[in-house]
């Protein structure tokens, strides 16, 4: 087995450049993987008004925010910790989604999985949907079985921690 220690920066750049994957969960909300620079104008052409970036890197978000704003989008960086979400993070998302000023929304992370998880939790916590209803919406938008397994595992972890916090 070969081992190569690489500078973190080199490894991180390898995560860029993938083709956009997107999932329209409603006519007004698109869950997406990392957009590329040419995607911002496409979103505008498609009628989207706001972009929320869930990814953590503030420098990358600042650069992408400049590009998105230049294309005419309203850009928000909201690095909620998908590995340790709290109820208030889901409510912050709900407030943005349901703010009339947000308009049609693109909500993205790197692979579109974290945003799918947050969307599931938003439906369950804020709208009172069952897990099955939330999963059905995500499946209808195109998420696969692997994604569902991830959503289920992480949603169980979230629900356990929220229940523990409210004891």
């Amino acid at each position: 087995m070969a081992t190569n220690e690489l500078p973190c920066g080199n490894l991180q750049t390898q995560t860029e450049g993938a083709t956009l994957r997107s999932y329209a969960v409603t006519p007004d909300v698109l869950l997406a993987s990392q957009p590329q620079i040419e995607d911002w104008a496409t979103f505008v052409e498609q009628g989207y008004r706001t972009v929320i970036n869930l990814r953590s890197d503030p420098e990358r978000a600042a650069e992408q925010g400049r590009n998105a704003e230049a294309a005419g989008l309203h850009y928000l960086h909201a690095p909620w910790p998908a590995y340790e979400l709290e109820a208030e993070h889901v409510e912050e998302l709900a407030a943005l989604v349901e703010n009339p000023d947000t308009g049609r929304l693109v909500f993205h992370c790197r692979s579109a999985t974290r945003v799918g998880l947050m969307w599931m939790l938003y439906r369950q916590q804020h709208h009172g949907w069952t897990r099955e209803q939330a999963e059905a919406e995500l499946r209808a938008a195109g998420y696969d079985d692997d994604s569902m397994e991830t959503f289920g595992f992480c949603a169980d972890d979230y629900m356990d921690r929220v229940a523990e916090a409210t004891k």
């Binding site: 087995m1 070969a2 081992t3 190569n4 220690e5 690489l6 973190c8 490894l11 991180q12 390898q14 995560t15 990814r55 953590s56 890197d57 690095p79 910790p81 998908a82 590995y83 340790e84 992370c109 790197r110 692979s111 999985t113 974290r114 998880l117 692997d146 994604s147 991830t150 595992f153 992480c154 972890d157």
Partner: protein, 83 residues
């Protein structure tokens, strides 16, 4: 020089954010100062673990490296519990 560790977590095949969620749970089972080796196939885990280590209160990212196993890239992360 090889990195030392106390426990190994295999998250090969797991998609973000599952590697982080499982690592957070595994770190909680370590004592302060112990190191968790996490083996992932998700390339994005590199940036994800860097981001987690910047914000988590009890985790230090000691090292990251790539390995090859059967023609597949593995992304290996060493995380120390700090409190």
């Amino acid at each position: 020089m090889a990195n030392s560790f106390d426990q190994t977590l295999d998250v090969k095949g797991a998609k973000c954010p599952m590697p982080l969620v499982k690592s957070r749970k595994a770190i909680a089972d370590l004592t302060v100062g112990q190191v968790l080796k996490v083996v992932a196939t998700d390339r994005g885990s590199v940036a994800d673990f860097q981001g987690w280590a910047k914000t988590a209160k009890n985790v230090e990212l000691v090292a990251q490296e790539t390995e090859q196993e059967g023609g597949q890239d593995l992304y290996v992360h060493y995380l120390k519990r700090t409190s």
